[in-house]
Symmetry: C2
Amino acid sequence: MTMLGKTPPRGFAQSEFEARTEKLQGLMTASGIDAAFFTTEPEFRYFSGFKSQFWESPTRPWFLVVPATGRPIAVVPEIGVAGFEETWIEDVRSWPSPRPEDDGISLLGQTLAEVSKGSFKLGGMLGPETHLRMPASNFEKLKHALSQHELVDVSELVRKLRSVKSAAEVAKIRFACEVTSAGFNYLKDNLKVGMTEREACKAMHLEMLRLGADSCPYLISASGPDGYDNIIMGPTDRRLNEGDVLIIDTGANFDGYFSDFDRNFAFGDVPPATHTAYDAVYRSTEAGLGVAAPGRSTGDVWRAMWDVLEAAGALGNDVGRMGHGLGMQLTEWPSHVEGGDVVLEPGMVLTLEPGMTYAPGKMMVHEENILITDNGCEMLHQRAWPRLPVITS
Amino acid sequence: MTMLGKTPPRGFAQSEFEARTEKLQGLMTASGIDAAFFTTEPEFRYFSGFKSQFWESPTRPWFLVVPATGRPIAVVPEIGVAGFEETWIEDVRSWPSPRPEDDGISLLGQTLAEVSKGSFKLGGMLGPETHLRMPASNFEKLKHALSQHELVDVSELVRKLRSVKSAAEVAKIRFACEVTSAGFNYLKDNLKVGMTEREACKAMHLEMLRLGADSCPYLISASGPDGYDNIIMGPTDRRLNEGDVLIIDTGANFDGYFSDFDRNFAFGDVPPATHTAYDAVYRSTEAGLGVAAPGRSTGDVWRAMWDVLEAAGALGNDVGRMGHGLGMQLTEWPSHVEGGDVVLEPGMVLTLEPGMTYAPGKMMVHEENILITDNGCEMLHQRAWPRLPVITS
């Protein structure tokens, strides 16, 4: 049985929220922005410390306003007010929600108007990889109510901030990764020919929860003779037969932080081409590990990994990238793409995810989670097995 | 040990997707709408049958276009194309995503323009309890590209459609409810003084997964001497002591359909006022069960439940409603609110959730899940215990 490190402490020191907020406020000031507002769970939690599973309910909108100075202001449904006692937020404004005719939108407008009397420039999350978690008709109302104000995108500022993790954040991600790694080891010892994909995933799910994951919001599998044709569906009730390859890709969560990596398994004899493809993605990951370091770009990482796959005869890659940021979300900015120009910095947590179609309808994808350190990178969990594990029983 | 019914079949017959789509198309035609588009997981899945955990990744947008006639058209990232082989969707259009400079938005615009050449009227989810899962800046681009078209809200049409469940949908919800009920029974037999909230929730989580839940995206708890002050935070590492009341509220998921109900537990002696409050919410639920029937309104249900709580001395209710729709989402339209005018119909699945503050900082909330039948309603799981269960060991 894999030995896990000690469970990290829950939550964060108040100084962490102060530092995050001050950094954003510094970037806002440099851009002449009076205040920013947030509607989505990760940003709300990042600046406020408010952590609740209640975001699963789509009914009510939640808003966080970050003024140019001072603490954030929560503009939230009444049902949520008590939850702020444990946070560093002092100014909590609420309305009786659900109230479809005005579900907090006038209160948000008033709050923004109150804190934006300088440049009349407001920031919101409007750019790539974001959405506004509020009715589109209410966003129109908000813009109308704030027609004296200019609304600009702050998603670039926020993603830059969030992409560099603190030591406390890394500790949570590392623990999620260790649990995931132990889950895969458990699976390697317990997979059997004749199990279904769903049974395999359920066994791993239970084991990761037992080992200390809070939840496992992402746990997919795909399988087929010699390989699989996708990495985002499943698990299905398909039985794992001799000659199959199975991939399981999972994101376990500890205290609001994710792991995100996969493992491949062969069932009995699979063709040499499958083992060769596994070897290629393994070496591709090695190349990524060798390159990922401060000062290198996401394009450099992509290039190092793709060169190996191309030399191995890759027919293509439908994933669209070969890894990404990781933290409060299963996938975060930036992406390892061809020509990517995001420069890596110490504290970034990233996935390396080389993948290729090695024969028509057959993919092979590896994924590992790393931390960019002062002079290179560090694996956050046990490295994948150098050879494709073969389940024989 | 509770006996569970047989696990329902996975997925749906193609006829179900045809019926859903035709119903929407009928409503669209009545409103002169050429085509509607969807960006959020429940609607995408409801009309297409595409079910993937990959929505957990916020990076890529996904679009489904429902024309006035014929099958829906998927406009999706390349990584997702293979997943449509198992659906009834034939027209799948894709782009290599992530591509921040044009992440599918021009392809969506072209597709909508192609199928909207009649009224030039397009439908989107713009109203209460919805959001657009796409960058706000891209929605602006889309509106600009389709400036010849009128965009109208179809959320009222869709929620009306989705609120009435088919027999196959009810079977999935019922199974999720049975698993949840068995989980609460397990907890009643295994809770002990001195456990933490987190240990209690983890035990129930594992049991529900063992019993057949696919996942449990919502599992919260709150506790305190004589009562609790919120129902959306936790679990915490607080130890359950003599004199505490614990609430656990959970939404387990089977094949994409939720349960959503709670149970309360006392640890040793709690004051008579706490037992009285439990009795009041129990009787309030009874009143709701007596009223919920076709032809009655959400306001009627609210009134029947609130009258009991008011007579019992309720100081207020911070939840904002006393129950809601349930199905593909933990909480769906409609809400049981004062004056609510949504008329109940056979096939609606609803929660009854009477709750009150019975002393300063002390809440008592019950929740049950019901199906509206031809002449009344039916519990979808075992009813709460008539008296507050007391954990003595």
